[in-house]
């Protein structure tokens, strides 16, 4: 009996180890959802090997999957459609080695070290979230390996003077800029802010406060809350009593659910609600239905935006290609991931080699119009050419309402 129990526990641990710690590269894993189909890289003159640690499990599993699909969209396109990365006279195939960072900073850091030391990757693409990018980019910097990313946008990462970290997306402090400007133009006077007490939401909130004050909007209160929060009723009660024109909430997907539900339950009806992550995701709109009507959200990218480039074509062309591959429309996290890989690809071609110094210089000099918007990095490594968009849920549809250049509908204010 004892022996059988012992055997069972061993089996249990074995199953745990194999199911929970799923990891592997595109070579050894069978293509799953979001997986690049195996391509015969031997047909190319060589291979550019890129590494990425992404969250397949844990808190960021959804966004991690979207990012992975975004990277794989580029892999499929560059190998199958584009014919390989052009380095000098040669055509090089692209390969991404993936590991699951389990949404954990320590695991992600270990995996990045492993990608550099054991897998000997030439370049790195970023993980999802500012928290994970902060640690992993420090390891990339210490090892002098370039990391291009699109889903870790916290400002503090770019105040460290790193030479090897590049962000194609708009930085977190500018997430709410276009929304605040649009709201200010409609006569908004007061606002309240609630944000998760972690790196990225704090950057967004601090930026939001700056933009609000710069536009003459008074910030009545700022509330911080811990991650994995299960109830925001108290925050919303406090805000209801202050009666602001605008509510700004910054956190992650589940926080958007909590904010929208609590506002409904408490009868808190500000004229505008701007929520950092969630409203631009069709899944949230589907799940919360009427309650999310009129809610605003920042977006790095939408398929309806009027961006176009020589690679992938327009934003709509990219969305169509993505849908063909994965059977669903791309969310902005996926487009950011594809754009990161594309920026790296263009820099390698411009440099004519995979030498780190040459590619870094090429990234700094890069000026490209793409499906994702313009890309041009400043001295910090941040893409300052692309403005952040704002969407609003109108009749269950996610429509870009700001900035004016990208808008497809007028902002509805008050949200009614």
């Amino acid at each position: 009996m004892r022996r059988s129990v012992r055997a069972f526990v061993l089996l249990l641990l074995l199953v745990t180890a194999t199911t929970a710690c799923g990891e592997g590269s595109v070579e050894d894993a069978a293509p799953a959802a979001g997986e690049a189909a195996p391509v015969d890289l031997s047909a190319f003159d060589g291979t550019v090997r890129i590494g990425a640690a992404l969250s397949e499990t844990g808190k960021f599993a959804v966004e991690g999957r979207d990012s992975r699909q975004g990277y794989n969209t580029w892999v499929r396109w560059v190998n199958e459609e584009y014919g390989g990365i052009r380095i000098g006279e040669g055509r090089y195939g692209a390969e991404i080695v993936y590991y699951d960072d389990e949404s954990d900073a320590d695991t992600a850091a270990n995996l990045i070290q492993r990608l550099i030391d054991e897998d000997r990757v030439d370049f790195l693409l970023g993980p999802y979230s500012s928290g994970l990018t902060t640690g992993t980019s420090a390891i990339a910097e210490a090892n002098n390996v370039i990391m291009v990313e699109g889903n870790g946008t916290s400002d503090t990462m770019f105040e460290r003077g790193f030479r090897n970290l590049f962000l194609v997306a708009t930085v977190a402090s500018d997430y709410t800029k276009s929304a605040v400007e649009a709201l200010a133009a409609r006569g908004v006077r007061t606002a309240v802010i609630a944000h998760e007490d972690t790196t990225f939401p704090t950057s967004v909130a601090e930026g939001a406060r700056r933009h609000l004050e710069a536009n003459g909007i008074e910030v009545l209160a700022i509330e911080k809350y811990p991650k994995d929060i299960q109830d925001v009723s108290a925050i919303m009660t406090k805000f209801r009593n202050l009666g602001p024109d605008v509510f700004l909430g910054g956190g992650h997907y589940n926080d958007a659910v909590l904010f929208v539900n609590a506002a409904d339950e408490l009868g808190f009806e500000p004229d505008a609600m701007l929520i950092t992550v969630g409203p631009s995701n069709p899944r949230l709109v589907e799940q919360l239905d009427d309650d999310v009507e009129g809610v605003l959200g920042p977006t790095q990218w939408e398929a309806t935006m009027a961006y176009e480039g020589d690679w992938f074509g327009s934003a709509a062309d990219y969305a169509a290609y993505y849908r063909r591959l994965w059977g669903e429309p791309p969310v902005y996290q996926a487009a950011s991931a594809t754009a990161s890989a594309l920026a790296l690809h263009l820099a390698i071609e411009a440099a004519g080699s995979t030498d780190t110094d040459a590619v870094r210089q090429a990234l700094r000099a890069l000026r490209a119009d793409t499906f994702y918007g313009p890309i041009a990095f400043d001295e910090r490594g941040v893409n300052t050419a692309k403005p952040m968009g704002t969407i609003q849920v109108q009749d269950g549809e996610i429509l870009v309402v700001a900035p004016d250049a990208a808008a497809v509908a007028a902002l509805v204010y008050p949200r009614g």
Binding site: V9, T19, T57, P226, D231, I235, V257, G267
Partner: protein, 297 residues
């Protein structure tokens, strides 16, 4: 005044949610001496069942809760017979490890089956009752509270009056003595575990319209259940209700009356209360069935 009244309503509503979340965990720990580290994952499985009923057949989670209870009862019974029964006499660390293993397996199985996408069940019992302009009662949470109080009362009666309930309490207080007087410990444990997992599943069903359902929602819920149980008293039904209410109210008041960091403080509060209770009153504020530091036997 209405500000305070709203805080009171928020706190009681939160307490109701905590009560239903903590009951199963508390009784398993109190009666069997097993710290169910997979508690949050059993909540998550119950939430998925309710979400499926809501999404596929348009059944309200409050209506599907009894069916979820039945399915989880069966699931709990199976887990108990196949696993827990075999490790009950082993050192506490073994049961801790096994429950931890189960939690990881459940997370992985649900992730593979349903992906990591967030889901929400739909309930018709949503929105708010507006008592005054500044005073509302959240409808979903109100009904969660009603179910929680009902279940607590029922469990209290069951444990206090029925023969099986008395056997469960006897097994909790002294397993060997209970065995000597003819209590079938294996049966008692099987019933206790199954019943508690059933209740935990109901908790999952009831929170499925409130918190996003996803494979990794369990650990913070387990942590909360742990803090409330250790603070209030292991295995005490009234303690679960009392502890959950105390914590719900403390959290709501702190979050409302302390600016900027109130919600952060509210999370710390449960552990401050836990440490204070462990030092000053190890049998729990509401006197549980056993001390926190009692061995598993």
């Amino acid at each position: 005044m209405s500000y305070f009244a709203q805080a009171l309503i928020n706190g009681i509503a939160l307490g109701g949610m905590y009560t239903i979340l903590v009951l199963g965990f508390s009784i398993i720990w109190g009666v069997m001496g097993v710290i169910n580290l997979a508690h949050g994952e059993f909540v998550m499985v119950g939430a998925y069942l309710a979400w499926m009923a809501s999404d596929f057949w348009d059944v309200d989670p409050f209506v599907s809760a009894p069916a979820v209870f039945a399915v989880m009862l069966l699931f709990g019974y199976l887990v108990q017979r196949v696993l827990v029964n075999r490790i009950i006499d082993r050192p506490a660390l073994v049961s801790l490890l096994v429950m931890f293993g189960i939690s990881i397996i459940l997370q992985s199985v649900m992730k593979v089956t349903f992906s990591a996408d967030f889901r929400l069940a739909n309930t018709d019992l949503d929105g708010a009752w507006r008592l005054t302009d500044r005073l509302t009662v959240p409808v979903t949470r109100f009904w969660v509270l009603v179910v929680a109080v009902g279940v607590t009362a029922g469990l209290n009666l069951f444990l206090g009056r029925s023969r099986l309930g008395k056997s469960i309490r006897a097994a909790a207080q002294n397993r060997e003595a209970a065995r000597i007087v003819g209590v079938d410990i294996r049966k008692v444990y099987a019933v206790t575990f199954a019943l508690c997992i059933g209740l935990t599943g109901v908790a999952g069903a009831l929170i499925s319209p409130l918190l996003a359902v996803q494979p990794f929602q369990g650990p913070p819920l387990t942590l909360k259940a742990f803090a409330i149980t250790a603070m209030a008293g292991l295995g005490s039904v009234r303690g679960a209700l009392g502890g959950a209410m105390v914590l719900g109210l403390v959290e709501a008041m702190l979050a409302l009356y302390v600016d900027r960091i109130g919600t952060n403080l509210a999370v710390v509060a449960s552990f401050v209360l836990l440490v204070a209770a462990l030092v000053l009153r190890p049998q729990g504020i509401f006197k549980g069935l056993r001390h926190v530091d009692a061995t598993s036997t």
